[in-house]
Symmetry: C4
Subunit: 228 residues, 4 copies
C-alpha cells in the first residue's frame, strides 16, 4: 500500500512540475484491483505540504478505509471511471489552461498532428453538458457517467482523455504515472490546436493513415518507440 501511496503522491507532484496545476486544482488517483483499493489525493491540501502518508485510501465504491484527511471531492468521478474500464490503473483531473479552455468552449480537441496522434487515437471528445438533475444530485459521479457515456464504443486506453463540458479535462492510463503523461500531452496538443487554427482556419484533421502510423508505432503490437 505504501508503494501505491508513494506513486500517487509522486504523480500529484509531477502535475505541478509540468505546470498543469495552479493552487490545488488537480488530483491523481490509482487503483490496486487485487486489493480492491483506490489511493487518491486529499481534498484542498497544498502540494508542497503534502506527504505520501496523507494520501487517502478507499474501497472501489469510494468509501474511505484509511487516512485522516478527506479524499478529493472528485473521488466519485474517479470511481466511476475505474468501474467502467477495468484496463485503467490511474486517473488525473486538472484545470490545466488549454485543455480547460476547450472544455469551457464545449469542444473536443481535434487531431491536427502527430504529437496528438502519438497519444490519442483521434479527436479527444468533449462530453455533453450535464443536466440540472445530474448536477444537483451525485454531481461528481455523474461527471464520470457522462465521460463513460461519451467514450462508449472506444477503448479507454486508446482514448485516454476527455474534456467535460464547462469544466475541464480528465485523463487516465495504465497507472498513475501514465495518466499524468497523458494529461501532459493533452495540454500540449490543446494549445497547439488553438495555434494551428489561428494560423490556418481551414486546417483539417490529419489523414487516417498518419494517425494509424503514429498511434500504432507507439502503442500497437509492433510498437518500436522507446526501449525494449
Amino acid at each position: 500500500m505504501n508503494k501505491l501511496k508513494q506513486a500517487v503522491w509522486q504523480a500529484n507532484l509531477a502535475l505541478v512540475d509540468h505546470g498543469l496545476v495552479v493552487l490545488t486544482w488537480g488530483n491523481v488517483s490509482a487503483v490496486d484491483r487485487k486489493r480492491g483499493v483506490i489511493v487518491i489525493k486529499p481534498s484542498g491540501v497544498a502540494y508542497d505540504a503534502m506527504r505520501p502518508e496523507d494520501m487517502v485510501v478507499t474501497d472501489l465504491d469510494g468509501t474511505v478505509v484509511e487516512g485522516k484527511l478527506r479524499p478529493s471531492s472528485d473521488l466519485p468521478t474517479h470511481v466511476a471511471l475505474y468501474r467502467a474500464w477495468k484496463e485503467i490503473g490511474g486517473v488525473v483531473h486538472t484545470h490545466s489552461m488549454y485543455a480547460t479552455s476547450f472544455a469551457q468552449a464545449c469542444r473536443g480537441i481535434p487531431c491536427l498532428g502527430t504529437t496528438h496522434a502519438d497519444h490519442f487515437y483521434g479527436e479527444v471528445p468533449c462530453t455533453r453538458v450535464l443536466r440540472r438533475a445530474e448536477v444537483e444530485k451525485d454531481y461528481e459521479a455523474n461527471t464520470g457517467k457522462v465521460i463513460v457515456e461519451r467514450l462508449a464504443g472506444t477503448l479507454a486506453l486508446q482514448m485516454p482523455a476527455a474534456v467535460v463540458a464547462n469544466h475541464g479535462p480528465f485523463a487516465w492510463g495504465k497507472d498513475a504515472a501514465d495518466a499524468v503523461h497523458n494529461a501532459v500531452a493533452l495540454e500540449q496538443v490543446a494549445q497547439m490546436a488553438i495555434n494551428a487554427r489561428q494560423i490556418n482556419p481551414a486546417v483539417k484533421a490529419i489523414p487516417a493513415y498518419i494517425l494509424d502510423k503514429h498511434y500504432l508505432r507507439k502503442h500497437g503490437a509492433t510498437a518500436y518507440y522507446g526501449q525494449k
Copy 2:
C-alpha cells in the same frame, strides 16, 4: 501587529511567486478592524528587498500611524473597499497580464466554466470609466468608489474581484492570503475566457445550476471541498 505585517509581507511575496507581478506593479493590504488599522505594502519598493517591518500601518482613513516608508499610492482604493464592505479582511491590486487585458478592453470576465464558478459567483464585473473630475481629484479613492458602485447589490465575498476599466484588477477576501488566492484564480479564468472564445466564438456563460453547484460546494453552508 507584527503578525499582520508578516501576513501582508508574505501575501505580497506570494503575488510574485504566482507570476502576477512584474517590477513593483502590485500591492496587498490587510485590515485589523478591532485595532482600527490597515497594513499595506510600501510604494515602489522592490519585492526582494522588502522586509516585514517595511510594511506601512495606517488608520482606517488611510493616515499613516507607523512605518518609515510611504504607503502604496493605491492605499485610498484599499481604504474605500474596507469602508464599504465590513466582511472583507484583505485587498490585492495587480497588473496581472490577462485580468488587466480585460480591464483594458473595458469588459467583464464571463463565467465560462467551473474554474470560474469555484471562485466567483457570476461574471467578474468591469467598472465604468472614471470621469475627468474623478480622475483629476481623489483619483485613487474614486477608483474604490466605482468598484463599490459596480458591486452594489452583490455580496463582496461572493464576487471577490472586479476589473477597473482602462486600469486593472482588484481582488479581495477574508484576509490577505484569501485575497491573493482570488487574484490568482482571476488571472487563470481571464486567460481561459480568452482562449475559450477563440475556440468557440459563440460560447455562452455556464448554466445557472452549474454555477450554483460549484460556487456553493466550495462556499455555501454545506460546502464539502477541502478539509473540515
Copy 3:
C-alpha cells in the same frame, strides 16, 4: 569607469532575468557624458559567460577606446540616440517576443491602459521601414536615424521607447537600469494590447485625462509614486 561597466553588465543580465532575451539577442549600453564615453555589451557573447570587464568602452562617435572584444553590432544605433538626446543615459535593444511582434507588424503599441500610461506618454511609435540605401550603407546608424526622426517633437524621456519596423524595440532612460525598466514595461504593454484587442476589437486609446494623470503621478513635477 569600473562602476559604469558594472552597471551595464548588471543591466544586460537583468534583461535575461526579465525574460526579454533569447540566446544573445539583446544589448544594453550607458553613457558617461562627462568622460565622453559609452559602455556597451560585446557582440554575440553568451550572457552567462560575460563579465563586467568584458564590456566595451567607446567614445561618443562609437570608436572603441578600451576592451578586447568587439562592441555589439548595434552600437551605431545607440550612438545615434545618445547624440540626438542629451537627457538620456542608457539604451536597450532586445528582440523581446511581443514588442518585436508589433515591430514585425509595422504597428505602434496603442495606449490602452494605465500600465502603459505609467511609462509611456501615449502610443509607442513604430518607425517607417528603412529604405534600400539606408539599409545597404550605415544600416545601424540609420536605424537610430529613423527612431530619432519618428520621435521628432517628443521628449525622449516622455516616450522612452519605439519599435523599428520589421525589426524590434529600442528603449532608453535616465541610465542603464531605467532603460531596462522601460524595456520590461514595453514588453508587458505590448502583450496586453494584443489581448485587449482580441477581447474587444473596438477598444480605443484611454482618455487623455487618464493618460495625463497616470503619466504625471509617476513622472511629473508633483509625482507621488514610490519613495521620496
Copy 4:
C-alpha cells in the same frame, strides 16, 4: 568519439533548457564524416536520467555500431538529411509549441522580421503531406525525403530548418550546437509570426534588401556580427 557523445548529450539537454522539449519529444544528433559515424539520442529516455555514454553510435546508413540502447526512432530522418547535405554536421527534431503549430497548419513560417532574417534566408518551408505509401513503409526515411525534396535548390545552411506537414520542425546546422541554436530561433520566429499577423493581418514578408542585409551580416563572407 567521447567528445562527440558529450556534444550530442549537451545539445539534447540544451533543448530542454530552452523549453523546446516536453516529456521526451525531441532528439539531437551529430555526424563525424571522417569516422563515418552518427551519434544520436536514445529513444524514449528521460532527459534527466540520460548520460553521455547512453548516446547511440551508428554508421552513415543508421546501423547501430555502439551503445546498449535503441536509437531515436527518428534516426532514419536524420540519416536522410546527412546523406543529402554534406555541409551539415548536426540535426535537431522537436515538437516545440509554435513551430509545431505551423507544421500542423501545413504552413511555412513567413519571414516577417529581422529576427527571422538573422537565421533563415526567407520563409521556412513546410513540406507536402506524406502519401499513404510513404507513411506505411519507411516512414521516418520518407520524412527526410520530403524535407530534402522541399529544400531542392536551396543551400541547406542558408535555410537550416523546415516544418514537416502534420508533424513538426526539423533544424540543422554546422554541428549539434548550431542545430540547437537554429531550433531555438525557429521557435521564437514562429511565435512572433502568429502575433504579428494577429496585430496586422495584412502584414507582408520583409523587403528583400533587409533580408539580405540581416542574413549576410551574420552569415555572409563579410559577416560582422559576433567576435572575430
